[in-house]
Symmetry: C2
DNA sequence: GTGGGTGCAAATAATTTGCACGGTA
DNA sequence: TACCGTGCAAATTATTTGCACCCAC
C-alpha cells in the first residue's frame, strides 16, 4: 500500500507524495516526465508545485520506488519500479515506448563487463526502432 | 584530410571548424564535452566561442563526422566517427570510458526488435561498471 | 562583394535551491 | 511543538539563438 511504501523510505506521508505515487500506480508500464506529472496533477485540483515533483521523484528513486530513464531527447522519464527489470524500445516515428526483457541480453552484458575486467553495476539500453513494413 | 571532410559536408572551411576537428583527431577514442573542447581550444590561443563549438559539433554530427553520446550524468560527449560502431562502458568510480564492440550483442538487438515487429534503426547502450576485485 | 560563419550576450529549457509558511508525527 | 516538507520564485547548468561584424569563396 502506498503510505506504507513512503514510510518505509523514511519519508513523511504527505499529500504530494501520495499523489505522485498514486498517479504512477494508476498507469503501470507508462513513463512520465516531471512536467507531465505536474500538468496532470494540477488538473486534479492539486496545489502541487513542479519543484516538489522533482524532489519527490528523486527521493522515490533513491528509495527504489521509482525508476528514472534518460532517453536521447534530453528529458528524463519516471515509472514505478515493479521490481522486474526491463529495457526499452522507442518508436522513432510515434515516440511510443515498449518495454522488453531478454535474459540472453542480460547475461551477455555481464559477460562483456567481465571480459574487460569489470563487474557490471547497471546498464542503460534503448533500441530506437521503426515499425517493420 | 580535415579540410576535405569539412568541404564534403557542404560547410566552409573555417578556423574554428578545423580546430575542433583537429583536436578530436589528435585524441582518438576519447570523449569530450563541448565545454572541455572550449577550454582546451582557448588555451591554444584560440578566440573560439562556446556557442560556435556547439554549432560546429551539431553540424559535424549531422554530417556524420562526429558521434554524440549521452551518458547518465546529463551532459553530452562527442568523439570522432571512425566508422566503426562501438558501445561504451563507464567506470562509475573513476568516470573512465571504455569502448567495446560485440557482434553477438549487435545481432541480438536486431533480433529483439524484429521479435516485437520492429526494424532496428539505432541503439544506445551503456554499461555502468566497477573494477572487478 | 555577399552570404555564410563567428563571438558575445541574452534567451531557453530542464532541473535545483533558498526561503518563509504549513502540515505531519 | 519541532522539524520536515511545500509552493513559489530565483538560481543553476547545458545548450540555443539574435545580432552586428568578419572572412572564405
Amino acid at each position: 500500500m502506498k503510505a506504507q511504501d513512503i514510510k518505509k523510505a523514511g519519508l513523511k506521508v504527505t499529500l504530494p507524495r501520495l499523489q505522485v505515487l498514486e498517479y504512477l500506480e494508476k498507469h503501470p508500464g507508462m513513463h512520465f516526465t516531471a512536467d507531465e506529472l505536474f500538468t496532470q496533477l494540477r488538473q486534479s485540483s492539486s496545489e502541487i508545485g513542479l519543484a516538489t515533483i522533482y524532489r519527490v521523484l528523486n527521493q522515490f528513486e533513491t528509495a527504489g520506488l521509482v525508476v528514472k530513464h534518460q532517453f536521447d531527447n534530453g528529458h528524463s522519464v519516471y515509472e514505478l519500479d515493479t521490481g522486474e527489470h526491463h529495457d526499452h524500445m522507442v518508436d522513432v516515428d510515434s515516440g511510443e515506448v515498449t518495454e522488453f526483457y531478454s535474459k540472453q541480453l542480460e547475461d551477455l552484458q555481464v559477460k562483456l563487463a567481465k571480459d574487460y575486467g569489470y563487474e557490471l553495476i547497471d546498464h542503460n539500453m534503448v533500441l530506437y526502432v521503426k515499425k517493420a513494413k
